[in-house]
């Protein structure tokens, strides 16, 4: 495959996720699936409508860069997170995620009726925390006990957890204090990143 040109060695395509997912559902048992722009395979053909995005609009689709985070931490088992967040959603619309460089993470809700805090310990912090601190990022010489926190809409967090059918080999989260939560899932060659902005 070749890109638009040697300098812009990419092609940007826009698809409707439902169409792509429908096509992929039918090839669940196939050993390999190869997307080509227009293809006729010997066995199965699926034409998924796409729109090619012109180069002048590429800047609108740029992948957001890794933010200058305050704390980076490995996520607890996603199933546990999902169970707890599913129940918390019955009690509140918003949740506070906080974590520190000591491998501790708390999920908190606080309403007129009830306050609930779930404490996760010994989660571990990814090594690039050290790199960021060397470059003078916000996590430089940070007290490991101090929590960075962000308040988010529970439904957005729930959406992230619902999508997980496959167990990721690595799951982690970067917290930019009171600004954003950046969630990363790694599985073999694929990475999935979610950026959830803070709510007031």
């Amino acid at each position: 495959m070749e890109g638009v040109s040697p300098e812009d060695n990419e092609i940007c395509l826009e698809v409707t996720p439902e169409n792509l997912s429908r096509a992929l559902k039918t090839v669940q048992n196939a050993k390999a699936v190869k997307p080509t722009l227009s293809s006729v395979s010997r066995l199965v053909t699926h034409d998924v409508p796409v729109e090619v995005i012109p180069r002048r609009l590429w800047h609108e689709f740029k992948e957001p860069g890794m933010p200058d985070f305050h704390v980076s931490i490995y996520l607890p088992p996603l199933k546990t997170m999902r169970n707890v967040i599913d129940r918390m959603k019955n009690l509140s619309n918003f949740l506070v995620m906080e974590a520190n460089l000591n491998g501790e993470m708390n999920l908190k809700i606080d309403t007129d009726l009830v306050s609930v805090t779930t404490h996760f310990k010994d989660l571990g912090n990814p090594p690039w925390g050290d790199e960021a601190s060397q470059q003078g990022g916000p996590s430089q010489s940070r007290d490991p006990e101090t929590m960075a926190q962000t308040r988010v809409d529970i439904r957005k967090l729930q959406q992230f957890l619902m999508g997980q059918q496959v167990n990721p080999s690595k799951a982690m989260c970067n917290i930019v204090h009171e600004r954003m939560v950046h969630l990363i899932l790694l599985h073999e060659d694929v990475s999935l990143q979610y950026f959830i902005p803070a709510v007031a």
């Binding site: 169970n83 707890v84 129940r87 007129d112 009726l113 009830v114 609930v116 779930t118």
Partner: protein, 279 residues
């Protein structure tokens, strides 16, 4: 155990501390009486009583004796408060209410007294969740003045037999009619719905009938909407006692075994439907 070290410092301040290795031994029985948002908790040295009422005509009580708890400490003769039951159940099931074998949520329930929240410490797989649920002044539960000396008719049945009938009850019938008599039909449940009348008869010598003590023929009707929640208690139980008194008030008592085989009780009291004319 992580939970016990959590509150060593304020152990003196709590008037009530109740611990369970398996929170389901509380949450399951509470589900049997959850038909309204609010529940009145009444704790005594004997154990915990949780009451839910509907329009002063129906009252459900769940009893969890102190022996059921792994730890039960109460510093007063009687401790009472009111909480939102749905919130409490969401908290007790915060880890998803998994029924996987060997997986259970440990619970430490603490209360400091009037004006303080009900605090729950829940732990599963090394993860701890702390819940503080706001409490209100407990309302006085209705006294149905149902006493055993006034009981005219009583039967004890194995729940299996009633479960079938209750699952098939015609919900288009506004009332459930209960007939109890020393003679035929002995014990009969009747409905009067859109598809016609239905009767479920339980003869006094049936295998399912463990006790039959009926002194006089009585027919009473109860609003179906009031009795419907009792189906949850029936589903959990292995035996049920049905009693009516001279006023036609109904008492249903359910014997429930928890996950560890221990016995708890749930009872429902219901007023007869006053709109029915004297037969």
């Amino acid at each position: 155990m992580p939970l016990s070290t959590q509150s060593q410092g304020d152990a003196e301040q709590y008037v009530l501390v109740a611990c369970l290795d398996n929170a389901r031994n509380l949450s399951n029985i509470l589900k049997a009486i959850t038909f309204k948002d609010h529940a009145i908790f009444s704790a005594t040295p004997n154990g915990l009583k949780v009451t839910v009422e509907d329009s002063k005509c129906l009252q459900a009580n769940a009893f969890i004796q102190s022996e059921i708890f792994q730890e039960y400490t109460i510093k007063e003769d009687s401790v009472g408060f009111q909480v939102n039951l749905t919130v409490l159940l969401d908290c007790l099931n915060i880890f998803g209410g998994s029924t996987a074998p060997g997986v259970s949520t440990a619970l430490r329930m603490c209360y400091k007294g009037y004006g303080y929240p009900l605090t729950l410490f829940l732990e599963e797989g090394g993860v701890v969740t702390v819940c503080k649920i706001n409490t209100q002044e407990p309302e006085e539960p209705v006294d149905f003045e149902f006493c055993s000396t006034n009981v005219t008719n009583k039967v004890i049945l194995q729940s299996e037999s009633l479960k079938e009938a209750f699952s098939e009850l015609d919900m288009t019938s506004e009332v459930l009619q209960i007939t109890m008599s020393p003679s035929q039909p002995y014990f009969r449940l009747s409905t009067f719905g859109n598809s016609g009348n239905a009767h479920y008869d339980y003869p006094k010598d049936s295998d399912m009938m463990e006790l039959f003590k009926c002194t006089k023929t009585q027919t009473n009707r109860y609003k179906m909407s009031l009795l419907k929640p009792s189906t949850k208690a029936l589903a959990l139980s292995c035996k049920v006692s049905v009693r009516t008194d001279s006023r036609g008030f109904l008492s249903l008592q359910y014997l429930v075994r928890n996950d560890d085989g221990q016995i708890c009780f749930v009872e429902y009291y219901c007023c007869p439907d006053e709109e029915v004319a004297e037969d």
